[in-house]
């Protein structure tokens, strides 16, 4: 991998905002501040996403409110030879653990560990923009990018329920139906993904600047 020559004595750079410009997050082009849309790609331009934190918290809260019933209500309802059986997300994973531990761990990771970690991570990032903390911005941005990357994988369990519902319909012998938790869980994943997307990572770097203006 070749390198660009670094100039001797590089002065600290300016942000696009400090230079009176606005950077397009879609295509990168820096444009004069008074443009509403990017002349290169047509995306809506905003120096910082407007009301970013309010939207992050609102979507975060909806996601959290969906996550509680997602764990309390049944995810999967099995009817097998006259027996009716409903299991929650955690209950289902525990059952699998009896005969296949790695898959049980995948489900626990995707359905329990990742969602909870995401709620904590997004809250931490949003709070860190308001209050100056000790965590450097580069580390916080890494966390942000990880949250954005990992979010969609939580949908695994919803898809598992869909596959089982479509596949296992053998009348009296065995049939599987989704429980209400499937919808709550899916909406929880969707709203936390939207919450993470609403965060403008440039705010994270702003918060680390000496004369940080928040918002």
């Amino acid at each position: 991998m070749s390198r660009h020559p670094a100039p001797a004595g590089a002065a600290p750079g300016r942000t696009a905002r400090a230079a009176g410009l606005v950077g397009c997050r879609v295509c990168g082009l820096a444009s004069p501040r008074d443009l509403a849309t990017c002349p290169r790609c047509g995306a809506h331009l905003a120096s910082r996403a407007p009301r970013s934190l309010q939207r992050v918290w609102a979507l975060w809260l909806v996601g959290l409110m969906c996550y509680v019933p997602a764990n309390l209500l049944p995810m999967l309802i099995t009817d097998s030879v006259g027996q009716h059986y409903a299991s929650t997300i955690v209950g289902g994973a525990v059952e699998i653990a009896a005969h296949d531990l790695p898959v049980a761990l995948i489900i626990l990771l995707a359905s329990v560990a990742i969602p909870i970690a995401k709620f904590i991570a997004i809250a931490f990032l949003a709070l860190s923009i308001r209050r100056r903390g000790r965590v450097p911005p580069a580390a916080r941005v890494h966390l942000y990018e990880f949250v954005e990357f990992i979010g969609r994988w939580s949908m695994i369990d919803v898809f598992v329920v869909a596959i089982l519902t479509a596949l296992v319909h053998m009348g009296f012998f065995a049939s599987i139906a989704p429980g209400p938790a499937a919808a709550f869980f899916a909406f929880s994943v969707i709203f936390t993904m939207l919450s993470a997307q609403a965060m403008d990572p440039r705010l994270i770097w702003d918060s680390a600047e000496p004369d940080a203006k928040h918002g």
Binding site: H4, L21, L29, I106, W153, D157, F159, L164
Partner: protein, 235 residues
């Protein structure tokens, strides 16, 4: 971490650049907002933000062509996945089967019926739209033609839909579901399963090679270029 050089305004990276683009083009890091001068990434190299190290642009040889081929192939494979048998379950002489569409619409008529719209979108519709939008944007660029009408809108759409195209998450879900019922029945995988597995490989390879900002520059260049027979400058 290699960076685009930084100064008050970072200088261009090579002497050849000045005559190619007389006007100084400025870009801003999407993560930290640092203003920097546009530089072309070296072949198989990249340009990173001088402050936060975010990779701004890459230049994999043939990245656009590879992405186009992946997009066209994934449309074909998605259609195959919809048409061919997907999964079949058999136990004690009984059998039941499900196609991809039946799985995507599995929640119809259950208490979570509204969810069937979401699963249909995430598994089938959005991956298809995304692959079509990428094909629509990249094909004229690679052929050296003018960009298609509203190519910008199409490429923005492909970017916005990226997190919501969940074919690869779905395939992992299939694997988990198979393990869940492996004890009580025997399952056979139809051609649709392998078609979907192919889509996953293509999606992952596309993500690794495509540089969005390069595509935006190519679209802009092609719009401004004189119409007749001009070819894209080889990367």
């Amino acid at each position: 971490m290699q960076g685009m050089s930084s100064s008050d305004l970072p200088p261009a990276s090579g002497p050849a650049r000045a005559e190619a683009a007389p006007a100084v083009e400025l870009i801003a890091c999407p993560v930290c907002d640092l203003l920097q001068r546009q530089a072309d990434p070296p072949v198989n190299g990249r340009v990173s933000c001088a402050r936060c190290g975010e990779v701004l642009m890459t230049n994999r040889r043939g990245a656009l062509e590879r992405t186009l081929v992946a997009s066209i192939s994934s449309v074909i494979l998605m259609v195959a996945a919809i048409v061919f048998p997907f999964l079949e379950l058999s136990v004690a002489g009984l059998s039941s089967s499900a196609s991809v569409l039946e799985v995507a619409l599995a929640f119809r008529g259950t208490i979570v019926a509204a969810l069937s719209i979401a699963t249909l979108l995430l598994i089938v519709v959005i991956p298809l739209i995304r692959a079509a939008a990428l094909t629509y944007t990249l094909l004229p660029l690679i052929l050296g033609r003018r960009p298609a009408p509203r190519a910008e809108r199409a490429f923005r759409l492909a970017r916005e839909l990226k997190p919501w195209a969940m074919a690869e998450v779905f395939v992992v879900g299939v694997a988990v579901a198979l393990v869940k019922i492996a004890g009580m029945a025997s399952i056979s995988l139809g051609p649709a399963f392998w078609a979907l597995a192919g889509v996953v490989v293509l999606v992952i390879s596309e993500g690794a090679s495509l540089c969005e900002w390069t595509v935006w520059r190519e679209i802009e260049r092609a719009r401004k270029a004189p119409p007749a027979g001009t070819r894209r400058v080889a990367a």
